[in-house]
Symmetry: C2
Subunit: 192 residues, 2 copies
C-alpha cells in the first residue's frame, strides 16, 4: 500500500506525478530529453541503460516499464534486456554499449564508483563526451525515479502483460506530463 494517499488506479510513478503535477512537469521533460533522442545513443540504448539501472536498484515497476519500451523499439520480445540482465559480459551488445553499461552500473552504486579506466574504456570503443554525459545522467536520473517510486511504495502491477501497452504509447508519443497525469497530450500537437 502506498505510504501517502494517491490515486490507486494509477500505477507506479504515474500515481505520484498525479499527486504532485508541479514536480511531474520537469521530471517528464527530463525523461523526454534523456530517453527520446537518437543524438549519439539511440532511444533503445538509452532505455536499456534506464532498464539496467532500475534492475540494479531492484525497482520492479521501472525495470519492467522501461524494459518493455526497449522490447518495443527492438521488437525482440524482451530478448536483449533479459540477456543483459542475466549476463552483461556475454550479452549481444557492442563493446561501446557494454562499457557504458558498466559506467551506469558504477553510477548506481555511487558517483565516486565511476573510474577513469571505465570511462577511458568507453572512449576507446568510440563513446563521445556527450555519450558519457548522457549515460551518467540517465543512470543518475533513474536512481531518482526508482527511489521516488519505491520510497513512497507506489502500486506496482505484478502482471507483466500490462506493461507492453503503456510501452507502446511511450514509444509512439514519448514522455510528457500527459503520460503521468492523464492531461491532454502535448506531444500529440507537436507531432501533428
Amino acid at each position: 500500500m502506498p505510504h501517502i494517499k494517491v490515486n490507486e488506479d494509477l500505477p507506479g510513478i504515474r500515481s505520484l506525478m498525479a499527486f504532485n503535477p508541479e514536480t511531474a512537469a520537469p521530471m517528464g521533460v527530463l525523461a523526454n530529453l534523456l530517453l527520446r533522442s537518437n543524438d549519439g545513443l539511440t532511444m533503445a540504448e538509452r532505455e536499456l541503460i534506464a532498464t539496467y539501472v532500475s534492475y540494479l536498484n531492484d525497482c520492479f515497476y521501472c525495470q519492467h516499464s522501461h524494459g518493455a519500451i526497449v522490447a518495443c523499439y527492438l521488437n525482440d520480445n524482451n530478448k536483449l534486456v533479459d540477456e543483459v540482465i542475466k549476463d552483461l559480459d556475454h550479452a549481444p551488445v557492442s563493446d561501446k554499449i557494454k562499457a557504458l553499461l558498466i559506467v551506469a552500473g558504477s553510477v548506481q552504486k555511487g558517483g565516486k564508483q565511476v573510474t577513469t579506466e571505465q570511462v577511458e574504456a568507453a572512449k576507446s570503443f568510440g563513446a563521445s563526451d556527450k555519450d558519457i554525459h548522457d549515460t551518467v545522467l540517465i543512470a543518475a536520473a533513474f536512481c531518482m525515479f526508482n527511489r521516488y517510486v519505491d520510497g513512497l511504495a507506489s502500486n506496482t502491477p505484478a502482471d507483466l502483460s500490462s506493461y507492453p501497452l503503456r510501452a507502446q504509447q511511450i514509444a509512439d508519443k514519448g514522455y510528457g506530463n500527459h503520460i503521468f497525469t492523464n492531461k491532454q497530450p502535448v506531444a500529440d500537437e507537436q507531432q501533428a
Copy 2:
C-alpha cells in the same frame, strides 16, 4: 580531473549544466520547486534534507553547497548542519524533522528501505502526505544530483570559504537555469 571536457572555471554541477544546458533547464526547475518553497516544509528544512542526503552520498560539493544555504537561511554559521551530521538522534530539530530525516536516510540507501513504521512515525509528529512526498522526492533528487556531480568527477572547490558567497546568491534569488549556465537570471525579472 573531470571525465569529460567541461569548463573547469565552473565548479561542480554548474560545469555539467553548462556542458548540457538542455537538461540543465528541467533540473533547475525541479530544484526550485523542491527547495524554494515554504509550503509545509520550510526552505531551510528542505535544504537540510538535501544536505543530509548529500553527506550520506559522500558528495562533498553538494553537501557543502547546500549546507551553506541552510546556514544562510538560519544565520547560524553551519551549527545545525554540523550537529545533524554528527549525531542526528540528539540534534536540535523537531521530532517531525528528525523523523523525516530518517525517511530521507532510508531513501538514500534505496527506495525499499523506507518502512511503514518510519512514515507513520513522521505522521504521528505532524508530517502531512505532502511533507512525506517532498522529503522522499528531495532525497531521491539528491541521489541524482550527487551522482551527476561525482559520476563525471566534476571539479569540487576544496576551499570551504568559497561556498557561502554562492549560497547567498541562491538564498536571494533561488535556483534557475542562470545559476548553472551564467545566463541572464530569469528569477531577477520575476522578482522585480
